[in-house]
């Protein structure tokens, strides 16, 4: 009954991070939003972008990426709900283009709620939230067409973008739209940096809704994530110090990773054996840190007795028996 697959350490770290997040959410709930959050420049530009679209009387385009329904899409839709709230007040038309049916369903519900809660349901155009296509480049072609034909004034490209990112960003740039973009896909961030006015980098995307809404749950979770980052930082720093020390020690043992046959199947096992080669210093896999991350599983730990099931002979003949 051991955690042989990942070792206890991995589970310990994951659970610690989970506890960090939940603890801080609870803490933030009590402290009534007094917690500090660093300024995120891209988000301050949201208002300007909507203002400009209002002046020009042209629509605001929002795209939650082409990912399926997950945290990234939900996060994007949450930010779009805030954009829509403002746009609704000014009566600025919006276009929200989806590439996944589930995201579309969610977005439509959320956007309708926004208009309803603002008491302006009559301002909502039925087709303002659209499902364009669930095929990547058909979606790209469709949205590019919308950008160029409707001459959108502002674009919000937030979510999981892939290759199509630059098609949107450059098309919108060519008609002079103001653009705010952000993706958790690192591969697309450089293109957003090249073609857009404001870019949310990496984790800033997840911090966005906490920054905009200042809801205690979100703010607390953000603090919990920061604790998680500090945990990683401390692992790296402590590990570096430990390894720097250990790498100067002479190598006396060596680790052997092999597979062993256990109960009619192969399992990965490892053992520590004395080292008698040329004198040298420790290698990475001799260190304490390495063993933390890659626990030693000895064949003895896998020794276990278990009964076999009584298998009833199958009544139906198998295929081979028929052909013979």
């Amino acid at each position: 009954m051991q955690y042989l697959d990942t070792g206890w350490f991995g589970i310990f770290v994951t659970v610690t991070i989970v506890v960090f997040v939940l603890f801080n959410i609870a803490r933030a709930g009590k402290s009534k939003g007094e917690i500090f959050i660093r300024r995120i420049p891209g988000l301050n530009a949201l208002d300007d972008a909507i203002g400009r679209a209002t002046e020009m009387g042209r629509p605001v385009l929002m795209v939650p990426g082409i990912g399926s329904l997950d945290a990234v899409s939900v996060q994007a839709v949450t930010i779009f709900a805030n954009v829509t709230k403002q746009a609704a007040q000014f009566g600025t038309p919006i276009r929200l283009c989806c590439a996944d049916a589930a995201v579309y369903t969610l977005a439509q519900e959320v956007i309708r709620d926004v208009y309803q809660s603002q008491g302006m349901i009559e301002r909502m155009d039925q087709n303002s939230v659209q499902f364009v296509s669930d095929r990547q480049f058909a979606f790209a072609a469709g949205v590019q067409g919308i950008i160029l034909r409707e001459q959108v004034a502002a674009t919000f490209l937030l979510g999981a973008f892939y290759a199509e990112s630059l098609i949107f960003a450059e098309s919108a740039n060519s008609i002079g739209a103001i653009q705010i973009a952000g993706s958790t896909q690192n591969t697309q961030t450089p293109f957003f940096i090249a073609a857009c006015d404001y870019v949310l980098i990496g984790d800033e995307f997840y911090a966005a809704s906490a920054y905009i809404t200042r809801q205690p749950v979100l703010v607390g979770s953000l603090v919990g994530q920061d604790w998680g980052k500090m945990l990683i930082i401390s692992f790296v720093v402590l590990g570096t110090i430990l390894n720097s020390y250990e790498f100067k020690q002479p190598k006396t043992t060596q680790r052997v990773d092999t597979t062993a046959e256990v109960r009619g199947g192969n399992e990965n096992v490892s053992s520590i054996e004395p080292y008698d080669g040329d004198p040298r210093t420790k290698t990475p896999d001799d260190t304490f840190v390495y063993r933390m991350f890659n626990p030693i599983v000895s064949p003895e730990m896998l020794t276990i007795e278990r009964e076999k099931e009584q298998v009833e002979e199958s009544v139906e003949p198998t295929e081979e028996e028929v052909t013979e």
Partner: protein, 258 residues
């Protein structure tokens, strides 16, 4: 049923392909009617195809067959069905309550389930993805090789030929000052970039803001490298497409039958 000559079909395909490329490329000049034509055809084909793939690739394979079971060609049982799958239909259909003013809240049940399934997995994959990377980020920053600043070469250059030194593996195992500096750069990059994403700490003082700024600069270098690599990918595709228009089209019409 009858059929067309295979060669003719190939020629039509290549010709249509070339037309599509020219039609969609026309948007580079400006948005125009030809582009609009291909765009709408594209959207229509894609939606139609999604409707086909919906049953063919997803529901039939992942839902219908597991629910009703499979038979082998001789009619014996290959895999039994599971009736529990049948419950997915009513749950999925709850999403269609969006059209009802009173019951539209129910559409959030399938959505919640999809999100729940995704969320549960996050806990599961976190360590598998990041554990080895944390371990790999831990690098020694004290040299163990003291006989020089740079790592000695594991090779000698004798009479115009490269010869491996006898103690090559030992030399390669030592850590020299140059590598320590590399590791330091690695460490500083990692830590400054990580610190850049600490949102709840108020940065005061030159050192803290400077470190933060350094993190952003390092990220920019990283993004630049991605940019460079991606450029290769995009150009490789456009080269392939131009090759398709020029070479493949030409070949399709010059090659004989068979």
């Amino acid at each position: 049923m009858s059929s067309f000559p295979v060669l003719l079909v190939d020629q039509i395909k290549v010709l249509l392909g070339a037309l599509c490329i020219v039609g969609l490329y026309s948007v580079l000049y400006k948005e125009n009617k030809i582009y609009r034509f291909f765009e709408h055809m594209f959207l229509g084909l894609a939606a139609g195809y999604s409707l086909v793939a919906l049953w063919k690739d997803t529901l039939y394979e992942q839902w219908w067959l597991p629910m009703t079971g499979r038979l082998t060609e001789t009619g014996t049982v290959d895999a039994p069905g599971y009736w529990l799958f049948a419950l997915l239909l009513p749950i999925g259909l709850m999403a269609y309550t969006v059209f009802s003013k009173r019951h539209n809240w129910m559409s959030r049940i399938p959505i919640g389930m999809i999100l729940g399934l995704w969320s549960g997995q996050q806990v599961q994959i976190y360590w598998n993805k990041f554990g080895p990377q944390i371990l790999n980020s831990i690098k020694p920053i004290v040299p163990t090789g003291t006989d020089g600043f740079f790592q000695q070469s594991a090779y000698d250059f004798v009479n115009g030929a490269v010869v491996t030194k006898p103690d090559a593996s030992l030399i390669l195992s030592r850590i020299y000052m140059s590598e320590v500096i590399n590791n330091m750069i690695f460490l500083v990059t990692l830590l400054s970039a990580l610190a850049y994403f600490l949102f709840s700490i108020d940065l005061r003082g030159k050192a803290a803001t400077g470190f933060n700024k350094l993190g952003r600069w390092m990220l920019m270098i990283g993004f630049g490298a991605i940019f460079g690599s991606t450029v290769m990918a995009r150009f490789a595709l456009v080269i392939d497409r131009i090759g398709f228009v020029i070479v493949d089209t030409f070949e399709a019409f010059t090659r004989g039958p068979g």
